[in-house]
Symmetry: C2
Subunit: 408 residues, 2 copies
Amino acid sequence: MRNCIIAQSGGPTVAINASLAGVLKENENTHYFDNIYGSLNGITGVINDRLINLSEKVKESPSFLEKLKVTPAMYLGSCRYKLPDPNEDRAVYESIAKYFEKKEIDTFFYIGGNDSMDTVYKLSLFFKETGSPVKAIGIPKTIDNDLTCTDHTPGFGSAAKYIATTVREICHDTSIYPVKSVTIVEIMGRDAGWLTAAAALSRTDYYSLPQHIYLPEVAFSMNAFIEDVKKAMEKSNSVVVAISEGIRDEKGNYISAGESSEDTFGHSQLSGAGKALEYAVKDALGVKVRSIEINLPQRCASHLASLTDLDESMMLGAKAVGLSAEGLTGVMATVNRVSDDPYKAETSYADINDIANRVKNVPREWINAEGNDVTEDIVAYLRPLIQGEPKIDFVDGVPEYLPVVLSE
Amino acid sequence: MRNCIIAQSGGPTVAINASLAGVLKENENTHYFDNIYGSLNGITGVINDRLINLSEKVKESPSFLEKLKVTPAMYLGSCRYKLPDPNEDRAVYESIAKYFEKKEIDTFFYIGGNDSMDTVYKLSLFFKETGSPVKAIGIPKTIDNDLTCTDHTPGFGSAAKYIATTVREICHDTSIYPVKSVTIVEIMGRDAGWLTAAAALSRTDYYSLPQHIYLPEVAFSMNAFIEDVKKAMEKSNSVVVAISEGIRDEKGNYISAGESSEDTFGHSQLSGAGKALEYAVKDALGVKVRSIEINLPQRCASHLASLTDLDESMMLGAKAVGLSAEGLTGVMATVNRVSDDPYKAETSYADINDIANRVKNVPREWINAEGNDVTEDIVAYLRPLIQGEPKIDFVDGVPEYLPVVLSE
């Protein structure tokens, strides 16, 4: 009997269920695994013995995989649990190993971002050290696009498409009055500005909005920002700027109107960069100003998913099954870009040690010299990732998805 | 020569351009008007002599009307200009009348909400009093759905579909962690709760989220709200509530974490009902809590428009042309509902005096006794209005729209 466990972790994306569907579909073709179990709420489902048999789900319903592919958030639920340092606490590792043995587990697949890859790294190391044949393989996902060793990450293209579309629609909305107005759009991305850069995709040959884009990769100066807005207002009634939630001043302090606290992984909880700039513009320029926090919809709006993103996410799920069959462990499935135009990409893999806990930032040369916009190079990089619209079933006027399995 | 002027006013909606397209298309069939002029920035385009010839636009490009139908915001731009009391200041009326005579204007069409209907009312009265043959006819639009004499308003169905979809996607997103969390979704609607009620359409047979919905029609009690949340948390990890931006306490004070000021029409500018409840929940219950302000996208997200809404908006534009041909003035085109299931509606008209400056609220019997949810009756009323998805052209991954004509 050769079984595997798959789990999802970290924040939701529109594509993380597509990767799950990719694993399941590949196994329908190869039959490499006898049973694919889903662990509920990430690795904690293994620790607390909460598994469901996904292979049976696939057999039960022929439409299950198609529906899963376009369902937002995480079908198996998530967790923010971080494995302890194995040098300090081996008990949980031993308990996991025992559980895997009992369930005849050949491979543990973890779909997630860099925190989840830390779990894959630690598990693969433990299995190697103890001579266990169990493999641990990572499948990337994060709307932040900040994982190393892969051209981009599943979930990012859909979030970027949502940003491009929503910012374009907002730019139409703010262009109707013959009065000066400033609109500040705050976009997710704590450390990396990839998603904020996608606001450039909303530009058309008739609107060069947003006029400015500010990423966390460049120190933010409030004075320079106010000057940028002032100059833009001379040319256009409607000024729109896109900012990352993670913009920081030259001392490294977050631009924020609110408090800061820390989450389980030691990240600062941000809120209010947009509000802070709204107040600053109001004080300095006295014009009509509004800030819009795009908030959760940018990571869960499946109705506006990128088909390229969903298809590649499935490919990465399939690739992970192949990596296991090749006997690899401690690796993550990756995307390599072959060409921009026409866009061509293929799957590969990388050592998890080069990925876990690292961050890939927007290169400085993809941001303009003034630090208030992105260059054409990043637009050429981003454009292929938002192409294509998946077919979404609307029932009674609203998209129909699968529920997170916990609620069943 | 028989010409007309059409203008758009008030806040943007997804359907206001569809009504404009409806007028233009009907005239392609009937040739009632020789020229249809568009007045830029509402009635101020008449005052400042800023007209464009829309009939020529239609002739120039065969795809113009199809594109216009799905373009968000307002093709002709907007204004917030209010005509003075004709008893105090007749100069502007006389200047408008002179301008209309010069341009051989037979009818002035105004697409807008109740403030715009005030303009239609005043103009029609002035023309009648002065024996002018010029007609003034209103075409409704407002995402607020608060106009009297019509079953519903263009733009509302699309905004409701956006709310239903977005809240459903948010409910998926918030259901993935096995920890208690509260999510507060703040929805537009200053005085009327119609749009907030549409959050009920996001419910499925697997998620009865949002658990509670609070409309401005019922006085809001912070204590009762905290009790509602506490009870909901006992049954479900993820608690989601939908609130109107305009909720008020029993003394009539807005629930707000921010300041208040007034716009040109004497409305209070609201912000922060969601934030105020977020802080209240954090203080009282100490759980993970987040507030999401849906903000501008609910009124400009054409990519998620309701086809029923767009089709009916075109029908109302066509009806307005017919009302003019019948010689009517001082009226607004309306929708009458014939039946809920199967849904059937027809166009009609009403006296503008019964509409201008009035507000239609959600009836008390469509809100539950506790004032923390809506009833099945309003769901049956809302459901038909969000049906159908228009074909949107995506170019390079982003919807393609027409620019607001001002930018040309």
